[in-house]
Amino acid sequence: MTTLALPGTLVDAASSQTALRRFLHDLPGVDQVGAEARIAALSTRSIKKQAKLQAIDMAISMTDLTTLEGQDTPGKVRALCAKAMRPDPTGDAPPVAAICVYPDLVATAVDALQGSSVVVASVATAFPSGRSSLDVKLADTKMAVDAGAAEIDMVIDRGAFLAGDYGKVFDQIVAVKQACRDAHLKVILETGELATLDNVRRASWLAMLAGGDLIKTSTGKVSPAATLPVTLVMLEAVRDFHDRTGQYRGVKVAGGIRATKEAIRYLVVVNETAGPAWLTPDLFRFGASSLLDDLLMQRHKQQTGQYWTSDRIPVA
């Protein structure tokens, strides 16, 4: 998958370490208090009835159902895949967007998901810390791609970013994108470690300039993970990137989103920041595991009017 060509000014911005630094530092700042106030205002949206049901189904179809544990086994992955394809046998919930696993379990997932619309995403590049050589990271990526992963969730080198070595971060993303071949590249910024919204804006642009198809908030292994203000800034970045290039890049929020109410807040922010064009699994994802269960519980409640029990939601 080749990167679509960028307009000249943006190509220039990436032409050297100095140019890149100047471009990123020239981006408008983010006023943290103002961003949080905007989120507070958007959080008052009251999404009910049909709108709520629609949001729940959107969220389910945008879910990357995830297991990233040292104790994962092929059995666990198979169970998760079954749930991904048919989240709720007692209802008619849509399948999720993807499964997300470690590279050594990709083959198992590909096998289990044969014939379904659910794709296999794999983390790579020394996830979650990203602390290793480029060669190791590329080998990690290649392993996942060779095994059949359709999407790669890479991590950026946060150490290099915070040290100001934007060129190094950029080059790594470019190299990983190349190793992805036809697979989509999601770039995890690990916003919890970037600390400021200004850094989130800069990292978002850096990742998109380097060819990332989608920017992702977190590994889920570090707290804080996804937050609404961080997501606001990332959605502004993809919106502005589209303004300048005509290209669509996506956003994925991962880590710490457990409740339907919270997921719907995210969708409201997507809807009113980047716009309705981003309300599709191609451009917005939830990286989650337990969120799916709550979405299914709320789905039943919306349909039947009864509060549901998790006893009736199959586990994976």
Binding site: P28, G34, A35, I47, K49, M58, L267, P276, A277
Partner: protein, 485 residues
């Protein structure tokens, strides 16, 4: 690849329960702790501006009623209120604050229905702030000797207070809370089009067992207000409203011993520099002029944008305005409610027409206007100059005038080029520039990287023809105490 068919996700109607407002068919005047019929029997109707439906019949206080209320306030002051310790007075005010919190939802719905503003705002801004004002001032009642206004500051006596229709309950709180905390008694006249929350506040006074006559509520129109202001038994006049009426009041009390504070109109400049945090600045523009349908004395009604980022800011602003939701004020997702009255709607419409005639370019987002009620779409005028009427006159509606500037000095010059001086906004990431601008802007309130933020601890009021005196904070107490100036 990417499916570029734009999905639609409509927010379903999310209406708040209208009958929580619990409106009676008619209301009397609240004098000396009771609801009484007006002596000359005049009544008028108050309507819901989003539907033009009549809500209730309300009394007009005539001269005899005004007299009765002022006498009740005077007696309450002499016999009861001035004899209470600050501590006990404070406890009454704490009660009022607590009751407002307990009845918050009812008050929010009532305010929204009577005023036309969105429930989201009454619920999240008007009512909580009003309660907070009472809490803040309750705590001052027994601490006045440390307010920096003398070792034993005394109240003025009976305060006559006239408030506007844009934030009815909040303006009542800004007036009544400090007056009571400082030991005064009150005769308050709410605006003609928004009497209901003041009357509900009267019920709250009863629930709090507030001694009779300490608070009196007289509904009516301009004549009632003039009668209150002009009554000999009033020691202190407090008015929030238009500059024109403010000047009338200052004339009316000339030669008397009455103290007066006025909080009047504005034509605030919201100034955006090229290094502003752009997305937040755009939010600041929207909050500045479209919050409360622009019915805000301190509204950022003039956008002064640095010329080199004009187009970018306007593009972002237009896109942002596309997500504004205009409609039923009781829908929790409504951002823009109704214009308060047909008179105000006419004024806005006429000034907008003038704007177009004088050569400015107007733009509005697509909003479907409901069939009944008073509505006006958010409007942005570009290519506006200081000589245009719409850059000088307060429109008091959702209409923004956009001008440009090149340097900070020029921004200051244009911002100050008005007889008004209530507020201003400055958007830049450079701290020293914020402080330099704040020093030079002739405005009583300067908001940097924010707008339309209010707090009971923070003094609010104007320079020049936006009025004098401050409300809120330690400084706001001076209006209700004998300070000698």
């Amino acid at each position: 690849m990417i499916d570029l068919v734009t999905p639609t996700w409509e927010y379903a109607p999310a209406p708040e329960a209208r009958d929580l407002a619990n409106i009676k068919p008619s209301y009397g005047l609240f004098i000396d702790g009771e609801f009484v019929d007006p002596r000359d029997g005049q009544v008028f109707k108050t309507v819901d501006p989003s539907s033009e439906e009549v809500l209730a019949e309300v009394a007009t206080a005539g001269p005899a009623d005004v007299d009765a209320a002022v006498r009740a306030a005077r007696e309450a002051y002499d016999d009861t209120w001035s004899k209470l310790s600050g501590r006990e007075r404070g406890k009454y005010v704490f009660r009022l604050a607590r009751l407002m919190q307990e009845r918050a939802r009812e008050l929010a719905v009532l305010e929204s229905v009577d005023n036309g503003k969105p429930i989201k705002e009454t619920r999240d801004v008007d009512v909580p702030l009003a309660a907070a004002h009472f809490f803040y001032h309750a705590g001052w009642a027994d601490k006045l000797q440390w307010a920096g206004l003398g070792p034993d500051p005394k109240p003025l006596g009976v305060a006559g207070q006239v408030i506007p229709w844009n934030f009815p309950l909040l303006m009542l709180a800004w007036k009544v809370a400090p007056a009571l905390a400082c030991g005064n008694t009150v005769v308050l006249k709410p605006a003609e089009t928004t009497p209901l929350t003041a009357l509900r506040f009267a019920e709250i006074c009863q629930q709090a067992d507030l001694p009779s006559g300490v608070v009196n509520i007289l509904t009516g129109a301009g004549e009632t207000g003039a009668a209150v202001v002009g009554h000999d038994g009033i020691d202190k006049v407090a008015f929030t409203g238009s500059t024109a009426v403010g000047k009338q009041i200052q004339r009316q009390i000339a030669g008397t011993k009455k103290k007066v504070t006025l909080e009047l109109g504005g034509k605030a400049a919201n100034i955006i520099f090229d290094d502003a945090a752009m997305d937040q600045a755009v939010e600041g523009i929207v909050n500045g002029i479209f919050f409360n349908q622009g019915h805000v004395c301190c509204a950022g009604s003039r956008l002064l944008v640095q010329e080199n980022v004009h187009d970018e800011v306007i593009d972002r602003l237009k896109r942002r305005l596309g997500t504004l939701r205009l409609g039923d004020p009781l829908d929790k997702n409504t951002d823009i409610g109704a214009i308060n009255s047909s008179e105000q709607l006419e004024r806005i419409t006429s000034l907008v027409a003038t704007g177009e005639q004088e050569g400015a370019e107007s733009w509005q987002p697509d909003c479907v206007l409901p069939e009944r009620g008073y509505w006006f779409r958010p409007t942005v005028f570009t290519k506006v100059e200081q000589t245009h009427t719409i850059a000088q006159e307060e429109i008091f509606g959702p209409v923004l005038s956009v001008l440009t500037f090149r340097t900070a000095e020029e921004a200051v010059q244009k911002a100050n080029n008005t007889p008004y001086g209530l507020s201003a906004g400055v958007w830049t990431e450079k701290g020293s520039r914020i402080l330099w601008m704040a020093q030079r802007l002739r405005a009583g309130v300067v908001w940097a990287n924010t707008f339309n933020r209010f707090d009971p601890t923070s003094p609010f009021g104007g320079y020049k023809e936006s009025g004098f005196g401050r409300e809120g904070g330690r400084h706001g107490l001076a209006a209700y105490l004998q300070t000698g100036w």
